[in-house]
Symmetry: C3
């Protein structure tokens, strides 16, 4: 039984399923046609950071699945041990041109817009740490399951780097954990160990790491038991206000990002942070 007290209605049958896969460099996509469930597995060493190439491949893969009538749901997970995704790639935000910043930020927006409005059922199987943009990807899903390892943490920790999560990160976060937890967590840039993340509602469920994929499949089957049309209209009703807000202010948001990230003080913060990361290795 799942956390919702209901047995999955359509148990997946991975052994018998006809299956096709396509992969580029950074994400392995597998679609099990018998269940209608795809898996997108991030495999961009060392830490699945969200650079322009990753984001472009992510959006193309997602669009393919969205347009494939055989696909009704997608599970996001990582092929890299201990890390789901480390978030936006800081090298994309450091010492680059204005045009590059604009292109990069548009790709981040695109990823969020596609995921948050996806017609498919989206489940995050968070099998490692997931700060900042990594957390955002999980937040866009319909359901979040995390490995119950307290060494894995998740959160929107932008403030710790001296930067500010944009309003649509914030809106997504508030929709998930409520205003108060979001206000406190965003100001402190909190990264929560898995048990705390579960307690604050940042993830829906914890399971032992070895059961994570099996649980994700079971949850997916439960969601797919619902008629697609009613589920999709309901999802859209819940998320439309927040989606519309970015769509209405998309160019403005890009300009804000560029002018913020171009500040010498911010560039300096990011360089310091990157050097700290290098020393950690």
């Amino acid at each position: 039984p799942t956390a919702w007290g209901r047995a999955p209605l359509q148990p997946p049958s991975p052994l018998l399923a006809p299956c096709h896969a396509f992969s580029n460099n950074k994400i392995l996509v597998e679609l099990d046609e018998s269940s209608g469930v795809a898996t997108m597995k991030f495999k961009s060493p060392p830490v699945n950071s969200l650079n322009l190439d990753f984001l472009t491949e992510f959006c193309i893969s997602l669009e393919k699945l969205e347009n494939d009538r055989a696909c009704r749901g997608v599970i996001l997970t990582s092929a890299i041990p201990k890390i789901f995704s480390s978030g936006l790639d800081i090298t994309e935000m450091c010492g680059k041109s204005t045009e590059h910043y604009a292109e990069f930020w548009r790709a981040v927006q695109e990823m969020w817009l596609r995921m948050y409005s996806s017609n498919m059922v989206t489940v995050a199987a968070v099998n490692g740490s997931s700060p900042a943009g990594g957390c955002l990807i999980a937040l866009t899903c319909d359901y979040r399951i995390m490995a119950e390892n307290p060494k894995f943490s998740i959160g929107l920790n932008e403030a710790q780097l001296g930067i500010v999560a944009p309003f649509w990160f914030k809106d997504t976060f508030v929709n998930t954990v409520g205003h108060r937890v979001a206000e406190r967590s965003l100001q402190l840039g909190s990264l929560y160990p898995a048990p705390d993340a579960h307690r604050f509602g940042l993830v829906d469920e914890l399971v032992p790491e070895e059961k994570l994929q099996e649980k994700a499949a079971a949850v997916m089957a439960q969601w797919l038991a619902l008629p697609d049309h009613a589920r999709q209209l309901t999802k859209s009703m819940m998320r439309k206000a927040v989606l519309d807000r970015l769509v209405a202010h998309r160019e403005e948001d890009i300009q804000n990002f560029i002018s913020f990230i171009s500040k010498e003080s911010i560039q300096k913060s990011l360089r310091t942070y990157m050097e700290m990361l290098k020393k950690k290795k």
Copy 2:
């Protein structure tokens, strides 16, 4: 003591109270003039489904009480064992004329508008299962007490039937359980057993079934201890935005309902569901 840690300030005195009652076919209404508390007891077998007759009688009864200066609060409960209300009557939505759909939907809106904006203190004593529209009635009240029987369930399960809860069902739900629980529950069409409903904030309190009416009277007395005027203005301040939204879009919402429910695919879903219910008997 109630769940709020405060003893009721005006213990009701049911034995001594002068009392008058009026009843039509589907709802028994009793007003205890000494306490100012009315009880509306649903008695429309087999399952208190909300058909046009029920809704009309409900609104007339409510209006009478609202205009009766002797009445300050109303307790909603059921005279049918094991069921509070089964929600909107599907026969009203199947194979009927456009005019009928419009009349029916207007009556559903009217019930919600009157309950959610009532000047009286409204307490739901949920003594049985309460899916869909039955849950909505409970959600419009100021306080919800449910019999702690895990066989009784409550929730907005419209998605399970292939239909979509309208935006004002959703707004009422979000105001009660928050955005995340609403998003998940509406998409899954979740019906929660009483203990889960309590855990997610869908009901405020659980009591043994035999104590339910007594507890409802105690909670009512606690609410009636507050000055009416300040309480009513506060209630209005909390609910106005959501009420105004339906008032502003009422005709549009009726047209949406008609065009959705008239689709052949939806009609087919509803017929299938009704046949399934018949076989269950």
Copy 3:
């Protein structure tokens, strides 16, 4: 370790710190320049009620600190045993002129606007009961720690006095505890003993009274470990909508207050309440 599972990053060093203080009549302000943390200690016997003099001094002190580059955070606490603040001074609302009501209400608004939008980190060390306006002050802070004495209570209990909390009290409350808890608590005028206040999210943490100041300093150090600029922008993003709403309707809100408080029925309620308080002594 704090409730957030993180050790304070900048332990304060109160013994060695150069320190300057300024005090008028009602509030003792001390600034520890080494840590950048000020303390505002309410010392207006008997119950730190928020009269015009107190509010004026409060706003002036706050503005001084806000403009002092040596100050990055402020802890609010009380010098009066068992009471944090008893809230708005009812004598300011009884039998006074329209001009006086306007001046008083503008001062209440000013206090809220300054606190809720403060660039400093604001921590409430609630070392006594804190009804109505006292609770509002705590709600404006970034973090609330309360002495775990169940005899101390906190809440927006305006409805108990027959008056209505204004919309910006309500907005602040909803941002802290969510819509449902706010709706129920404001209608009942609930005062929560410290343990209940903690359970409902009205305060973030409980500590034994003798540890309260030490804990406030530790929490403050944790918040000050974040870069100011990112933290301030994040705070502004979270609170802007609610702040803008009062700014846009400030004069209207003053007129509403005057016309409400000038009603003979309200004046009578307040006089009755004040007499009840006098008899309690």
